[in-house]
Amino acid sequence: MNTAATALDADATAPPRPRGGGVPIELREVWKEFDTKVKALDIVNLDIAGGEFVSIVGPSGCGKSTLLRIVAGLLAPSGGACVRATNARAAFVFQDAALLPWRSVLRNAELLMELEGYAAPDRRQRAEKAMQLVGLSGFADAYPHQLSGGMRMRLSLARAMALQPDLLLLDEPLAAVDELTRDTLQEELQQLWRKLNFTALLVTHNVHEAVYLSTRIAVMSPRPGRIEKVINVPFAFPRAPELRATAEFAALTGQVSALLRHHAVGGAE
């Protein structure tokens, strides 16, 4: 895995891009009201340093996906600004893996590079490396429906990784896989993040996941969403899977859960 990552990093044919810890993001007074008059986001301020791993947790419908879409550039905010380097490359990982069922695994891994206009040999080579990185090498010619849920998510990650993103946006990517697979994928995601050095913004309902992966956790209020609190996660990297069993880990997850509960109740009043 290590060699694969180095190879991907060292790819000389890659288009020029800023390296060194991913791209910083600055959300300044961002809010969003839809045409339907649903106010999804109240004023949101958030500063994310390059190479950080920030998770967003909050009650259902509080505007987490909306926030992620704004950062992705898929939605324009009603007010405020999302500032990030204009040449930053962002990749989005969706909960449902969002694969093209008529394309083989390898051709799915190539998709984003194809859309971005990479040359065919280059894209084949990068897709193969990315698949190696997530342990899917033997499945190049399979079709998505032949993969398990966990493998589909790995493919979705590989597809994003092949693009060498500066920013990875993840919307509940592991919500649909079983717990054991989820733990494994969390570890793999952490390894990818540490090796490839991108900024990560993860939306999740799973507090354990947020604590295990993040450098910081943003806790949101119910709709219209605001960031109620940003919590530092002090555990050093690399984080071993055993961290999940420690008392410190339990204390922090307890703290985040309590915050979520508190604001859920507060928001309903």
Binding site: R69, A72, G73, L74, A90, A91, F92, F94, Q95, D96, A98, L100, P101, W102, L112, E114, L115, E116, Y143, P144, H145
Partner: protein, 269 residues
């Protein structure tokens, strides 16, 4: 796993499991039919002829039936193929803009609600007592399901995939060919299956109207002849042939559909 790789006996059992039930139904139906002609309809062959009489009428008039079937086949095939080309084209155009769709879709629905039997005489009046009118009638009756299903398919591309393509700045044309069109394929195929039988129905209806001034016509014409002569066993044979024609179209489309979708879509297997 894959049926192509399992041993021959297992495949035979699987094939038997698939074909035996409908064959049993067919045998039961034939038996019941024969029984009826020996009891209630004894001596009333002009109402319900016995199976063997139908077979005899088929053999006796084989040349006429074969020629009539080919005529109907040709008309229905033309109507069907034009409907496919036109239907997909219309749906593709309508799918490009909400306003276009809102303006024209109601008239596409009219195509379905107008009683074809009622406008068939008008069409014959316009286009003459010939094959061309029959083709037009077959086309009209087959068109709507193709437009409707294609449009539905083109509009129900999963949101995450649309966003994925949008994130990587894919233009309209590329998004259409790489995403919307292939993901509409199962729906398009469903429309084609519905229209397969309809195109034959349309051709027969058209032939009823144009009749035939004593010249050789399609199955619709021959059915009217047989009725006029109270030659019920021949009428039965011709109705069966007309039914099989529709079935043949359906079969061909199903085979094409399975070949196209077999490796990626669950409903195709």
């Amino acid at each position: 796993m894959n049926s192509a790789r399992s041993p021959l006996p297992a495949r035979l059992v699987a094939a038997a499991g698939q074909w035996l039930p409908p064959l049993i139904v067919a045998a039961g139906f034939l038996g019941l039919w024969a029984l009826l002609t020996l009891t209630i309809y004894k001596g009333k062959g002009f109402l319900v002829p016995a199976p063997q009489d139908v077979a005899a009428a088929f053999a006796e008039n084989f040349a006429v039936i074969a020629l009539a079937s080919l005529t109907t086949l040709r008309e229905a095939a033309f109507g069907y193929l034009i409907a496919i080309a036109l239907g997909i084209l219309i749906a593709a155009v309508l799918s490009q803009s909400r306003i276009l769709e809102r303006s024209f879709y109601p008239y596409a629905v009219l195509l379905q609600t107008v009683p074809v039997v009622a406008i068939a005489p008008l069409i014959v009046l316009w286009f003459g007592y010939n094959d061309f009118s029959v083709i037009i009638i077959s086309l009209i009756i087959s068109l709507f399901p193709i437009i409707n299903n294609t449009l539905l398919g083109l509009q129900s591309t999963p949101r995450s995939l649309v966003e994925l393509f949008a994130m990587h700045r894919t233009n309209r044309l590329a998004t259409f060919w790489k995403l919307r069109a292939p993901s509409a394929l199962p729906s398009i195929m469903a429309g084609l299956k519905i229209s397969a039988g309809l195109s034959v129905i349309g051709a027969i209806v058209g032939e009823f109207i144009i009749g035939s001034g004593g010249t050789q016509g399609g199955l619709g014409v021959q059915i009217i002849f047989a009725q006029g002569r109270m030659y019920t066993s021949l009428l039965f044979a011709e109705v069966i042939c007309a039914t099989l024609l529709g079935f043949l179209f359906f079969l061909i489309v199903t085979l094409i559909s399975n070949a196209l979708l077999g490796h990626w879509h669950e409903s195709a297997s």
